[in-house]
Each structure stands twice: as C-alpha cells, then as structure tokens.
Amino acid sequence: MPDFPFIFDTMGKLLAALPTTLELFILSISVGGVLACFITWARISPYKLLSLPARGYIFVFRGSPLLIQMFLVYYGLGQFAVVRHSIFWPVLREPFVCAVLGLALCTAGYTAEILRGGLIAVPAQQIEAARACGMSGLLLLRRVIAPIAIRQALPAYSTEIILMMKSTALASLVTVWEVTGVAQRIISQTYRAMDVFLCAAAIYLVLNFVLVKLTGGLEYYLTPHLRARPTSLSAGLRPLPPPAAGDASHG
C-alpha cells in the first residue's frame, strides 16, 4: 500500500522548492534568450571575426554535458585569483547567480541555433518585397523577418525550454536546492527512492504539460494562415502537412 502521509509530506517539501525551480527557469531562459540573439547575429554575420567565435561558442555549449559546464562555471571560475579580485566577484560568489549563468550560457547555444534555423526559413523574396516597399532596418525586422522566423522556430524552441525546465535540476550541484535536489536529499534521508521520485516526476510533468500547452497556443495564434481553410476544399482531403522540421531539433 502506498504510504499516503509520507507522500503528502514529501509533496509539501518538494512544492516548497518549486519557486526556486521556477526562478531558475525564468531567469535562465530570459538571459539565455537575449544572449542567443547576439550569438545568432554574430553567427550569420558575413565577417569571420564575428561568425567564427559564435560557431565555436555554439559547438562547445551544445557539445558537452551541462553538468560539466555548471561545475566549471561555479567551481572553475573561482579558482582564478583574477576573477576573485575583480568587480564581478560579489555577484559571481553567489551560488544562485552562477546557477542562472551556467544554465543561460548553455541554453543560449541551443537557442542561437534554433533562431538561425528560423531565420533561414524566411524566404528571400519576402525580404526583397519588403525592401522594395521601402522597409529597412528595424521595421523590416519587426514586420517581416521576426514574425516568420519566430513562427518557424517555435516548435523547436518549445522542446528547448522543456529541456531547460528539466535541466534546472543541475543547480543543486552548486548548492541551490530546487525540486530535484530536495528530492534527492529526502531520498538520502529516508532511502525511499521510488515514492519520492514519483512525486518529483508528477511536478515536472505538470510544469511541462503547461509549457507544452502555452507554446502550442502561441503557435496556433501565430499561424492563422494554416488553420482557416474553406471547408469545401478540404472535405475528403487530409490537411496540409505542417513544416517538415521535426520539433526535436534540440541536440
């Protein structure tokens, strides 16, 4: 029989750590998102001086496990006396800041590639047409490029932020105790691995389900041209396939 008082108690302790998980998540995808815009801009630049470092950044942060990145950001940076005596140290000595930084640096690499994928999908003719109408610079970006690129990138980005939600678990490596960390601590006190992990799983499942629905709704909102179809035409036919890119483009 499941031990309900224990499960109830565990759930309470895990939910108490939920704000930490959410703070880590929101801050890291925001910081990572801004960073990713700069990296994408550098990556698609025609100047090697910009595009090569961006390529290198994406390669390193996508190609190695986050656990190792987090360890090096938190414990590694502090090894250098230069860093410890710099003006950044009061900020960098805080575990929470390092956890956000570690997560943001990693997600920036992935997000930059996803954004680039979205930009590639913007048809050159549309940009030319917009230029022909006299649009340029920010107006072109805001009216034409960004809406199409974001729409294209959204399925892949939704996968990425779900992965980030799960990745916040690594913050406990740097003494920030979020949901998974607390779960592991309860296990090492009670050794009831299955009960505790199932409670934690339920929390992440709900969080990610909400994320899927939110990004799904946003996608629906951004693609009016794919849904309003005259019934007379589509009767008896299968709906048009969505864009071919599978949404598992996180890698």
């Binding site: 190695s64 496990p65 779900i162 678990a169 992990f197 934690a200 499942l205 969505p242």
Partner: protein, 240 residues
C-alpha cells in the same frame, strides 16, 4: 607536467580508462538509439493512426517521457527492472536476488526517452512525404508493404536524418546520467578519476573535451549521411 602524465597512457595515466569510458558511452548511446528507433516508430505510427485510443496512447508516451526528468526514468528502469527480473527469476525457481545489468538498464532508459523524441521526428518526416506520391503509388496498384518499402520508408529516412542527428546528440548527453547505475561510461570514469586523484578540474575538462570529440565526429557522420541520401533527390528549394 604531472597533469599531462595523468591523462597519458602510462602506468599512472588515465588515458586508457577514459578511452574505454568513451567506447562505453558510444555503445550505450548506440543501443539506446536502436531501442528508441523501434519504440519511436511504433509511437509515431500510433500518433498518426485513425484510432483515437492509439493516438491518445502515443501522445501520452511522448508527453510523459519528454516531460519527466531523465534521471528519474533511469532510476525507475534500473530499480524497477531489478525487481521485475528478480521476481520472474523466483517464479522460475532461482534463489535470491538477480541483478539487472547496468548496461541494459541504462540503454533501455535512454532508449525509452530517445523513443519519445524519435517519434516526433518520424511523424514530422512522414508528414513531409508528398501525398501525391503515395496516391500515385496506390493508383498504379502497389500493395501496402511495397508502398511502404519503395515510396514511404526511403523518403521518411531522408527527411528524418537531420532530426535523428539531434536526437543522437541528446542521447549522447543523456547517457552521462547512466553513471548513477555504476556503469563505467565517460562521465563516471571522469568522476572516479577526479575523486581518486583529487584533480577535479583536470578530469572534468578532459571529460568535456572528449564529449566534444564525440559530438563533432558524429556530426560529420550525419552530415555525410545527409549528403549521401540527398543525391537521389532533386535539389529542392530551401531544403539545403
């Protein structure tokens, strides 16, 4: 100088152990990808099916295994697997506990997760196959299996390749979590080396670099494969 010795292949060097760890990481990931391919194909088929129950089951599978932390899936398979194997063993008259090998548990767990991502890749790829081609095949009288083999499968494989490359990289890094089952793959070997020599940064950086080596090598393999299958297709617009 001592640090270079520690990474070398001499009697004091961890080079050999780290390479073995890399081989193990590769084997776990490869087995997981194969298991995931079977599961992913089944789930993709369920999600595209006309049966509402199958669609629901397929969707539940992808939601659960993409939504739950990877570590948890590994724990459930590892400990759940042990208890199942042991009780089956006892039914058959075996005595005491039967361990569930770490390798199988790890590959199965990563495979189950990989299956949920692969299902999405196959689904997207199937939907990208032009309807007209399938209808044309049907109208010239191709039976279902032949249609699948000659028309659908080759195109799905081609459209799925870039997505599969991403899933491979994802699984490669998920396999690092299998270290909790005691399997001596790259991550665990790096950690054991760090703990035994107290050279934490050296071995974490070495581990990270070896993962980068594996991802860049596999990137090249996938790029070649994509170029290879692309030869038999007309250079479509925007497919580059």
């Amino acid at each position: 100088m001592d640090q270079i010795m520690l990474l070398g292949f001499g009697t004091k060097g961890w080079g050999g152990m780290l390479l073995l760890g890399m081989v193990m990481t590769f084997l776990v990931t490869f087995t997981a990808l194969a298991i995931g391919a079977v599961l992913g194909a089944l789930v993709a088929w369920a999600r595209l099916s006309r049966s509402r129950l199958a669609r629901f089951g397929g969707e539940a599978y992808t939601t659960v295994f993409r939504g739950v932390p990877e570590l948890l899936v590994i724990y459930v398979v590892y400990f759940g697997g042990s208890t199942v194997v042991t009780s089956v063993g006892q039914l058959l008259g075996a005595e005491g506990f039967i361990g569930f090998p770490s390798f199988i548990a790890g590959a199965l767990a990563v495979g189950v997760i990989s299956g949920s991502y692969q299902a999405e890749v196959y689904r997207g790829a199937f939907q990208a196959v032009a309807r007209g081609e399938i209808e044309a095949a049907r109208s010239v009288g191709m039976p279902t299996l032949m249609r699948f083999r000659r028309i659908i499968a080759p195109q799905v494989m081609r459209f799925a390749l870039p997505g599969l490359g991403n899933v491979w990289q994802l699984s490669l890094k998920d396999s690092a979590l299998v270290s909790v089952t005691g399997l001596a793959e790259l991550m665990r070997t790096s950690q054991v080396a760090a703990g035994s020599t107290r050279q934490y940064f050296l071995f974490y950086i070495a581990g990270g670099v070896l993962y980068l080596v594996m991802t860049s090598l596999s990137n090249q393999v996938f790029d070649r494969a994509e170029a290879r299958v692309a030869r038999s297709f007309r250079g479509g617009l925007g497919r580059g």
